[in-house]
Symmetry: C2
DNA sequence: TCTAGTTTATGATATATGTCATATATTTAC
DNA sequence: GTAAATATATGACATATATCATAAACTAGA
């Protein structure tokens, strides 16, 4: 068992600073796990016992806030290092992680990561950069939502899946209207109504979860001008 | 010039891992600067040339988003390390920093920090923890705002300054109604109206910027139940 | 195949929030 | 100290958004 997977972003981005001895130690303790869509494989409140990396698939970060409201924090692709947001700050996870599509997760020994930080300065620097960029991205998306109207919020979700995940004009939304509501802070009915309005205005076509973007400039203009 | 300031959080929290030789090198290049209230000492888009730490005072992080809207990201006390959110992720700042009260900032050579990360593993680990906790706090506040009504949003601002900054029932708000609007995503008029309503309902007393909390439980209940 | 549950959808209506107008109070610039 | 700018405040009104009700479409499981 090693880390020689061809498409592994960890290798490309994260461990360019690791020498082959370190890589062997690191990957010797690696476990690869396939997570079926819909499975919650990290639970808010659980003790952090390992370092998890999304090798393939699509996941959502979500939490229950102090008032008991369910809330989606962000959506993640293999470019994101699933468990890095909490791992060095807290003993337990402050969010849950659920697979939206069948996903592959690599599970590493957390002590080896911590030892690497201490012994390999370049690794530490790369980890800090990667972590910073990932959390800046999440924060920026969250801040965007605060100041936008329901149209801007829903447009931002559609554009996110188009521009960051699927890259095509037509795609199947991997989340329900209810999840869009949990992400944007809108009510379900408002989300559905805005989608219907986008459809009536010829911005998108909708067939259940299937979305086809017809007027991308129009959507972007709505997103930008709230 | 050294780092022997008695109340320095950097020493207590951040540099417990630094030996005296490293401390000398680190602090030899330190510059201390007094920032008058209202001064913007980090500007969004500026190249990151130094590592800045808030020794004393109160600051706000703010940005102009892609659509050109002014937005306040968070408020910071000396417990926050001002420039760590961007420093290892980007070449330039993605936010501005302005003093809300007269503040003292310690400015360190950024290359020395980067060298310390590479040569001192414990320092690197402490930096990662500190940074994680700070950005988790900011994100959590931002997520809280997304799902709350105007009452919850304004209550959260009042409770923040009471519980995190001044600790007394009576205090002077360090920000204007307009800034509360920029932080919460509400309009100025809505912020003013909600504050007036809290006053009429006997939750707070208001004399311009002066706030006195009369019914803290009531405020917290509003915050929690939206 | 049927039933129960969930998801999507829409209308009617109530409430929350924004916009525009205006007035007073406060701060800033000269 | 005065004028101009900014901040606070409130009313009237328009628009955005939530809530409640209902129904059709779509799953999941027996």
């Amino acid at each position: 068992m090693n880390c020689s997977c061809e498409n592994c972003h960890i290798q490309a981005i994260f461990f360019k600073s690791i020498n082959s001895d370190e890589l062997d130690e690191f990957c010797g303790a690696r476990v690869e796990k396939i997570i079926p869509a819909g499975t919650t494989f990290i639970k808010q409140g659980d003790k952090i016992r390992s370092f998890k990396y999304l090798k393939e698939g699509l996941i959502k970060l979500h939490r229950v806030d102090d008032a008991g409201n369910k809330q989606i924090i962000s959506f993640g692709t293999p470019m994101d290092f699933v468990s890095i947001h909490n791992i060095f700050a807290e003993e337990t996870y402050s969010y849950s992680v659920t697979a939206l599509e069948t996903s592959t997760v690599c599970i590493f020994n957390i002590d080896i990561i911590k030892r690497l930080i201490k012994t390999n300065g370049e690794f530490a620097e790369n980890l800090i950069s990667t972590k910073s960029r990932a959390s800046n991205r999440i924060l920026s998306n969250s801040l965007d939502l605060i100041s936008k109207s329901m149209y801007g919020k829903v447009a931002s979700v559609i554009l996110f899946f188009h521009e960051k995940i699927y890259f095509t004009m037509g795609f199947d939304l991997p989340i329900s209207r209810k999840e869009i509501a949990e992400y944007t802070g809108l009510s379900i009915e408002t989300v559905i109504r805005v989608i219907s309005e986008f459809r009536r205005d010829g911005l998108i076509k909708v067939y259940g979860k299937r979305i086809e973007i017809i007027d991308k400039d129009g959507l972007m203009s709505i997103y930008e001008h709230s």
